[in-house]
C-alpha cells in the first residue's frame, strides 16, 4: 500500500453508542478503517460487533459520537443534514440485506429513484431520457432487461437484489456499501450476486465495502477487516487470512 494516494474512505477512532433508558450500549469504541480507491473490502464480525453500525456511519445515515470520516480526503462527519443528504445521493451507493425496494415503483422506477430524488420536476423532464437509458442499461447488464416494469413483489429475491444494486450504481457513486447483500438469498443466488459485485470491482474499478458474517462470502474480497466488540481486531489481505 502506497502512502502517496490518499485512501478513498478514511475512518479514524470512530465511536458510537446507543442509549436506551438507563443502559448505554457502546457499539463502536474507536474504529480505524481505510478503503483505497478500487478496493473490495469485507467487514466481518459476529452479530452485535458493530459492523452494520460502521456501515451506516460511513453511509452517512447516522452521526458518530466521536471520530472522523473522510471521503476523498474531505471530512464528511460534521456535514449539515443537507450536505449529508447530497453526498448520499451522489457519492455513496448502498445495498441492503432485505433489498429495500419501494413497493409502489416498478424495477425501472426503483432504479431511477435516486435520480428522481436529485432532480426537481422540471429538471427531471429534461434529464429523463438520459436517465432512463442509463437505468435500462444497468438492468440489461444484470439480466433484468425483460422485467423493467415488474413491481418488486413480482420479482425473485435475486432479481430484487440486482435491482437494488442497479439503483445503487445509477448515481455512479464513489463507493458501494453493501450490508449482508446475500443474507436473504439461497447459496446459488447469493453466489450470483457476489459474482456481480466482484465483476463490478474488477471491470469498473468500483470500490466496495461488504459487511457479512459469512466467511465464505467475505473471502471474495481483496481484504477482510474483522470487527469484535466495537474495535477492528485485525486487517489482513484475504489471501493472507486464508493462509493463516
Amino acid at each position: 500500500m502506497t502512502d502517496a494516494a490518499p485512501p478513498l474512505l478514511r475512518v479514524r477512532s470512530l465511536r458510537k453508542q446507543y442509549r436506551s433508558g438507563d443502559t448505554t450500549l457502546e457499539v463502536l469504541r474507536g474504529v480505524d478503517f481505510d478503503l483505497a480507491a478500487g478496493e473490495f473490502v469485507s467487514v466481518v464480525g459476529q452479530s452485535g460487533s458493530g459492523k452494520s453500525t460502521l456501515l451506516h456511519l460511513m453511509g452517512l445515515l447516522d452521526a458518530a459520537d466521536a471520530g472522523e470520516i473522510e471521503l476523498d480526503g474531505v471530512r464528511v462527519d460534521g456535514l449539515s443534514t443537507a450536505g449529508r443528504d447530497r453526498l448520499r445521493n451522489t457519492a455513496i451507493g448502498m445495498v441492503f440485506q432485505s433489498y429495500h425496494l419501494l413497493p409502489e415503483f416498478d424495477a425501472l422506477e426503483n432504479v431511477l429513484a435516486p435520480l428522481m430524488v436529485r432532480y426537481g420536476v422540471l429538471e427531471w423532464l429534461r434529464v429523463r431520457g438520459a436517465a432512463r437509458a442509463q437505468a435500462r442499461g444497468l438492468l440489461d447488464r444484470f439480466g433484468l432487461g425483460g422485467r423493467l416494469h415488474h413491481k418488486p413483489r413480482q420479482l425473485s429475491g435475486g432479481e430484487m437484489q440486482r435491482v437494488a444494486i442497479a439503483r445503487a450504481l445509477v448515481t455512479q457513486p464513489r463507493v458501494l456499501l453493501a450490508d449482508e447483500p446475500t443474507g436473504n438469498l439461497d447459496e446459488a443466488t447469493g453466489a450470483g450476486i457476489l459474482e456481480t459485485l466482484c465483476e463490478l470491482n474488477r471491470t469498473d474499478g468500483l470500490s466496495i465495502v461488504l459487511v457479512t458474517h459469512d466467511a465464505a462470502v467475505a473471502r471474495q474480497a481483496d481484504r477482510i477487516v474483522r470487527l469484535a466488540a466495537g474495535r477492528v481486531e485485525d486487517a489482513l489481505p484475504a489471501a493472507q487470512r486464508l493462509a493463516g
Partner: protein, 547 residues
C-alpha cells in the same frame, strides 16, 4: 420528482385514504348546494324588495310630507347629480281598504301609495309585477278591456292558475252592473208581487244566483244588454282614471249620476295578496277583480288628520311575491291622492309629497350618495335611506342564517380533516421503511414531509373536486331532483303556495364556490401537516430497521 410520483401512486393504491375524503366530498357538495339555494332565495327576496323600493328613498318624517317636490328634486340633483338616473315623488299613507264580498264588507289595513304613473316604473321594477301585459310596458290607471294574464307571468308554468282573471276588466264590470240591475229588478218584482198578494210560482229548485244567471243568459242571447266600449282605456284619455270633470270623479255617488258600466272611479292597483288567496289545488281565488269598485279610508294631511273615504276602481294587481308588500300595498295616481288628501296648496297650486324615490346609475355607491344627501338635508326633517337600510333587519337575518349554516357545514369538513389526520398517521407508520429507503437515497426531511403534504393536497383536491361536481350537479338540477323526489315519495317537498316561488331558486356564485374549495383543500393539507412532520423526522436507520 419522486414526491409527485409517490403521491400519485399512493393516491391510486390506498383506497382507505379515499374513503376518508368522502366526507370532504359530501361537505363540499352540501355547502355548494346550500349556498346556491340560499343565495337564490336571498336574490329573489332582494330583487322583490328592490322592485318596490328604489335605490334611495328620500322621506319626510311627517305624514303631511314636504312641499314642492320639484325644488327638493333639484336640490338632490345638485347634491348628487352625477349618480342620479331618475327620481319620482310618492305619497304614502296608512289607510283602510273596504270591499264587498257577497254582501259582506271586508276590511283590510293597507299602505296607500300615490305614484306618478309616467315616471315610477323607470325608478323601480314596479311595472314588472303587474298582471296586464300592457301595464307592464306602460302603467295606466285606466281599466283595461280584458287581456289580464291567467298564467302567472313570473313563473315558468304554463298552467292558467288564475282563471278568474280571464274576464276581468271592462267585461267583468259591465257584467257586474248588468247582474246588479237584474237582481234589483227581480227584487222589485218579488216585492210588488208580495204587495199585490198574488202568489208567485216558487222556484225553489234554483238558487237566487242561478235565477239571475238564467235571466242574464236570456238577455245576452238576444241583443247585447250594454253597448261595448270599443276604445281600450289606454288609448282613450277620457277613461284613464282622470276624467275631465273632477267633481264627478271625487264624489260620484253624491254628485251627478255616473254610469258604472261605461265609466270608472279613480284607478288603483292593490297588491294581489289583498284580493286573493290560493286554494289547495294551487288555483288563485279572487275576492275582487279588476273592474270592481272598492272603498278606501285614509287620513287627510291637515292637523289633526281627518279620515276621509272614497270609491276606487281596481284596474290591475301588483304581485312582487313578497307577501309583506303584496298584502299591504295599494297604488293610486299621486295627483289624485294629493288632491283627496288636501296636499295641494290652494293659493300656489304647489303639491306636497311624502317621499322621493331616487334611482342611481349602475354601480353607484349607494351608501356614499346617501351620506352626501344626509349632509345636505337636515336629519330632523328628512330621512335618507338606501333600500337595504329599509329592509336592514330582514337582510341581516338572512345573512346571519347563511353564515351560521356555513360555519356548521364547514365543521363537517373539519371533522373530515381529523379522519385524514388519523389515516395519514397510519400510512406514515405503514410506510416507515419506505421513508428510510428514500432517506438512504438522499431524500431530505423536507422532501419526505412534502410527499405527505402533497398527498394531503391531492386527496383534498380529489375530494373537493368530486364535491364540486356533485354540488354543481345538484345545484343546477335542483328542480329536476325535487320533481324526482316528489314522484318517488309522493309527497310535496317544495310547496309553491308557501314560498310564492314556482321553483327552488339556485344561484351558484363562483366566488363562494372557490372559497369552499380552497377551504376544503386547506383543511386536507392542514390535517396532513402533523403526519408529514412525523415522517420527516424519522431517523433513517431506525426507519430502515422497521418491519
Amino acid at each position: 420528482m419522486y414526491k409527485l410520483l409517490l403521491c400519485w401512486r399512493y393516491l391510486r393504491t390506498r383506497w382507505i385514504a379515499l374513503a376518508s375524503i368522502v366526507s370532504v366530498t359530501l361537505g363540499v357538495a352540501t355547502m355548494i348546494v346550500v349556498n346556491s339555494v340560499m343565495a337564490g332565495f336571498s336574490y329573489e327576496m332582494q330583487t322583490r324588495i328592490h322592485g318596490i323600493l328604489s335605490d334611495l328613498v328620500f322621506e319626510s318624517h311627517s305624514l303631511s310630507g314636504f312641499q314642492d317636490p320639484q325644488w327638493h328634486m333639484d336640490e338632490i340633483r345638485r347634491a348628487a347629480g352625477g349618480d342620479i338616473v331618475g327620481m319620482t315623488p310618492t305619497v304614502a299613507v296608512p289607510a283602510m281598504l273596504n270591499f264587498q264580498v257577497r254582501g259582506q264588507w271586508v276590511t283590510r289595513q293597507i299602505m296607500f301609495i300615490g305614484i306618478d304613473e309616467a315616471s315610477h316604473a323607470h325608478v323601480s321594477d314596479f311595472g314588472r309585477y303587474l298582471q296586464h301585459p300592457g301595464n307592464r310596458t306602460q302603467l295606466s290607471f285606466g281599466l283595461r278591456e280584458g287581456g289580464y294574464d291567467t298564467v302567472d307571468s313570473q313563473s315558468d308554468t304554463t298552467l292558467p292558475t288564475r282563471p278568474a282573471l280571464e274576464g276581468a276588466g271592462w267585461p267583468h264590470r259591465r257584467m257586474r252592473v248588468e247582474r246588479e240591475r237584474v237582481w234589483r229588478e227581480k227584487l222589485d218584482a218579488d216585492r210588488r208581487a208580495t204587495h199585490a198578494a198574488t202568489p208567485v210560482p216558487a222556484d225553489s229548485t234554483r238558487s237566487v244566483d242561478q235565477q239571475v244567471d238564467a235571466v242574464l243568459a236570456a238577455t245576452s242571447a238576444g241583443a247585447p244588454a250594454v253597448a261595448t266600449v270599443a276604445d281600450t282605456p289606454a288609448t282613450d284619455p277620457a277613461a284613464t282614471g282622470k276624467p275631465a270633470d273632477p267633481f264627478r270623479q271625487a264624489r260620484p255617488e253624491e254628485g251627478t249620476r255616473m254610469d258604472p258600466a261605461q265609466e270608472q272611479f279613480t284607478g288603483i292597483v292593490p297588491g294581489i295578496g289583498l284580493a286573493s288567496f290560493r286554494d289547495t289545488s294551487g288555483i288563485d281565488r279572487f275576492l275582487v277583480l279588476p273592474g270592481d269598485d272598492v272603498k278606501i279610508t285614509f287620513p287627510t294631511s291637515g292637523t289633526p288628520p281627518k279620515a276621509v273615504s272614497d270609491t276606487f276602481t281596481v284596474v290591475d294587481f301588483y304581485e312582487s311575491k313578497m307577501s309583506e308588500y303584496d298584502s299591504n300595498f295599494v297604488f293610486v295616481p299621486i295627483a289624485d291622492l294629493q288632491r283627496m288628501r288636501g296636499m295641494i296648496d290652494p293659493q300656489t297650486g304647489i303639491a306636497s309629497v311624502n317621499s322621493i324615490q331616487i334611482k342611481l346609475r349602475e354601480g353607484a355607491d349607494l351608501n356614499q350618495v346617501r351620506d352626501r344627501l344626509r349632509k345636505v338635508f337636515p336629519a330632523d326633517l328628512y330621512a335618507v335611506s338606501t333600500w337595504r337600510d329599509k329592509q336592514g333587519p330582514l337582510l341581516a337575518a338572512v345573512d346571519m342564517e347563511m353564515s351560521v349554516l356555513n360555519i356548521l357545514l364547514f365543521l363537517i369538513i373539519a371533522v373530515a380533516g381529523f379522519g385524514i389526520l388519523a389515516i395519514f398517521f397510519m400510512i406514515v407508520v405503514e410506510k416507515t421503511r419506505d421513508i428510510g429507503i428514500l432517506k438512504s437515497l438522499g431524500a431530505s426531511a423536507g422532501g419526505i414531509g412534502g410527499i405527505f403534504l402533497g398527498y394531503g393536497l391531492f386527496l383534498g383536491m380529489v375530494g373537493a373536486g368530486a364535491g364540486l361536481a356533485l354540488g354543481l350537479a345538484i345545484a343546477w338540477n335542483i328542480n329536476r331532483i325535487r320533481v324526482a323526489v316528489e314522484w318517488l315519495t309522493g309527497e310535496q317537498v317544495f310547496d309553491p303556495s308557501i314560498y310564492y316561488f314556482y321553483r327552488i331558486p339556485s344561484i351558484v356564485d363562483p366566488f363562494t364556490v372557490a372559497w369552499i374549495i380552497v377551504g376544503a383543500v386547506g383543511i386536507a393539507v392542514a390535517s396532513s401537516v402533523l403526519p408529514a412532520l412525523r415522517a420527516a423526522r424519522l431517523h433513517p436507520v431506525e426507519a430502515l430497521r422497521h418491519d
